[in-house]
Amino acid sequence: MWDYSDTVKEHFFNPRNAGAVADSNAIGEVGSLSCGDALRLTLKVDPASETILDAGFQTFGCGSAIASSSALTEIIKGMTLDQALKVSNQDIADYLDGLPPEKMHCSVMGREALQSAVANYRGEVWSDDHAEGAMICKCFAVDEVLIEETIRANSLSSVEEVSNYTKAGGGCSACHEGIETILARVLTEQGRSFQPSAPPAKAPERQRVAIGMPLMPKRDQTSAPAEQPSASATVVAAVATAPPAISASVAPPPGSAALAAASPAATSPAAATANKAESGAKARPQLSNLARIRRIEQTIESIRPNLQRDHGDIELIDVDGKNVFVKMVGACSGCQLAAVTLEGIQERICEDLGELVRVLPEQAMAFAQRA
């Protein structure tokens, strides 16, 4: 069974604003019968102030689709149209205390219905060219079309790169076989061959494990996601809880590219971290305690904006010898990928500090101190 929050259950069992608004002047209809979801949103908008006076929904869909629709109508009532258009999928999911990742598309539908309704009110036609391929990565709802286009646009050649660009494969890793199949097909078409253990074609810093999660590159740096029709880009950005890549946007610390290049044999991120950190430790002088903690603080500060963009955040709690205790808050707390995030942060701190440290959630504090 899905792990629905109590709020999701409450909005499913007792939906708010169900049914059509009687004297509505804006109607939005979206859906995909093949996925088993369809939604009609009716709004009553005050023409003078463009305020949404009333909202009603009718939904053909699963429990979370109904709950998301209910949440959406509650959120937007009383907003102006412009305010309502700023409601993100994450806002809907947050309102419901989270949705299972596989179910994020349910909240996407609510947002699209809203856009459609506003377009309807303004006499525009909202259309969605929803080109969808087979769902490959179920954790982040990434389909075959997006993966294939991203591989082509960026000449990707490994599963890891695909994860870094599209997030696909960054969760449970059950779809790695599927991603390899797509890679093999595209590469064969290009006259190349897929080698599972091949070092990536890109510069070493690209290969760095990005902070947090497998991240999407910045839109302006890669053509693929930018070329996506806006709606489907929304889908990806919405489903993905972590947008732009830090790996590309943060300049690598001096020497790290060279270090990475010097140890191409290091295949696992952990091994790479260890290698880099050990080499770094030899090169750098010992820091004073205060300077050390300041540097850790600086590193964490530089990471925070990226987490905040995903409605998450991190706080430094304590530094005890080799152990750095942090608190994950917002969307990061309870996130399936929190461990991956911590691993990425640990790697950054190790690099910036030039020594090996362990980044641990604050819950581990009592245990670590006893040990």
Partner: protein, 419 residues
């Protein structure tokens, strides 16, 4: 007598629920639990050992093998190979057939098989095998003339399920096995849903291999059987020990084997119950619901199906929502909807039968067992119509008391932007 109204029940209370999901898994019979328990404690020996501890377990396994043999109507008890589950039996059968006959590069199966067979075939396709998937008509039936035309010396194995897990529809596997035999082709059937619900007499058929799964017939999970007709060419999946005559290496799961033997004995004793009592309750449930709920219909082939299964499509609503509401009332069922599976895709069985999406997403499977009572069925008949009505009230495809597409004076139909 239980006078509690269904709405007062909570799914959190143990043992108050009505379990109508027996095609997913079944309760382990109390007699079966009792039979297996000693094999966790005092009867711990390894059946292969040369001492009394092993010997006693070895004898118990022999008895269990004969109990399975009796239920399947196999000629010899040596034709029974214990495995870990139905999926292992399916994989063993198909992989054995292609390994033993490397020159044959084709496989015949159907579009509505269980993933245990379909995913394996898909995988073998990548290795260069040609897979013929027989299609089904609107009621889930096969075209045997087409099947006949595909049988050739190129075919390594035919693998066709005996009964469909979603609709209960039966395939004429006995006839198909004979057709395969005439063409000199090996025949395997996934009978996971059929064993224990239908009389089976393998010695009078041409079936070479058959898979069954313990937990579908009131034995525990983690035990299955591959029936292997004597003389069928075979290559083991697991090599290592001499267990199961070298056909399935690995120390015997003795407690579960004993349990499965007991479960088969009980199933055989209750075959008549399935045909009469279980089928009657199923029919009562189905009629009780169809009589009251408009725009609902039975999927599959009602005249030719398992006695315990009813798959009803409720148009214009979605299955997960139905299941969540039923669950709140303590009723457990299953759905062919996209959202329940975790795959986000609607059931391949419903799609293969050409069931429209508006109905496929609302298909709900009720699967009974010999433990289902008439009182439970009456409570479900009472509970289902309000659940359907509640969800239709929310559905954009539904208007008051009829589909929105039939409305008059309204914008004729609900037409979303990218349906």
């Amino acid at each position: 007598m239980n006078t509690m109204s269904p709405t007062s029940m909570s799914s959190d209370q143990p043992n108050t629920g009505i379990y109508l999901d027996n095609n997913a898994t079944t309760m382990v019979s109390p007699e079966v639990v009792e039979a297996m328990l000693p094999y966790f404690s005092e009867q711990f020996g390894n059946a292969s050992s040369m001492h009394q501890f092993g010997d006693r377990v070895g004898r118990a396994i022999k008895t269990a093998r004969q109990q399975v043999q009796a239920l399947l109507g196999a000629e010899l008890d040596s034709e029974i190979v214990f495995t870990s589950c139905g999926t292992e039996s399916d994989s063993t059968a198909i992989l054995s057939a292609i390994k033993a006959q490397p020159e044959r590069r084709e496989i015949i199966t159907t579009v509505v098989e269980h993933p245990a067979v379909l995913s394996l075939c898909e995988h073998l396709e990548k290795d260069g095998y040609s897979v013929h998937r027989l299609e089904v008509d609107g009621q889930g039936r096969l075209d045997l003339a087409h099947y006949q035309s595909l049988l050739s010396e190129q075919v390594a194995i035919v693998s066709v399920m005996w009964a469909n897990n979603e609709t209960g529809t039966l395939f004429p596997v006995e006839q198909m096995a004979e057709m395969a035999q005439e063409a000199g082709v090996m025949f395997h059937t996934d009978a996971v849903q059929a064993v224990g619900k239908l009389p089976i007499d393998l010695k009078t058929t041409a079936i070479d291999m058959l898979s069954l799964s313990g937990h579908k017939l009131h034995a525990p999970k983690g035990i299955g059987v591959l029936y292997l007709r004597r003389g069928t060419r075979f290559r083991p999946l697991l090599r290592g020990g001499h267990q199961e005559r070298g056909r399935r290496a690995g120390t015997e799961n003795s407690a579960s084997i004993v349990a499965l033997g007991k479960a088969c004995e009980l199933a055989q004793a209750h075959l008549e119950t399935e045909r009469t009592q279980v089928a009657a309750l199923r029919d009562r449930l189905e009629q009780g619901i169809l009589d009251v709920v408009p725009n609902s219909f039975v999927t599959g082939d009602p005249s030719n199906r398992l006695p315990n299964t009813s798959n009803i499509a409720f148009e214009f609503i979605e299955g997960e929502a139905i299941l969540l509401l039923l669950n709140k009332l303590g009723i457990a069922a299953s759905s062919g909807s996209a959202c329940t599976s975790g795959s986000l895709e609607p059931s391949h069985v419903m799609r293969a039968m050409g069931i429209p999406f508006t109905a496929a997403h609302g298909t709900t499977r009720f699967s009974l067992s010999r433990y289902t009572t008439a009182e439970e069925i009456e409570r479900v008949i009472e509970a289902v119509p309000p659940v359907v009505a509640q969800l239709r009230k929310l559905s954009p495809y539904w208007d008051q008391d009829r589909p929105a597409t039939e409305g008059q004076g309204h914008q004729a139909s609900f037409q979303p932007a990218y349906a």
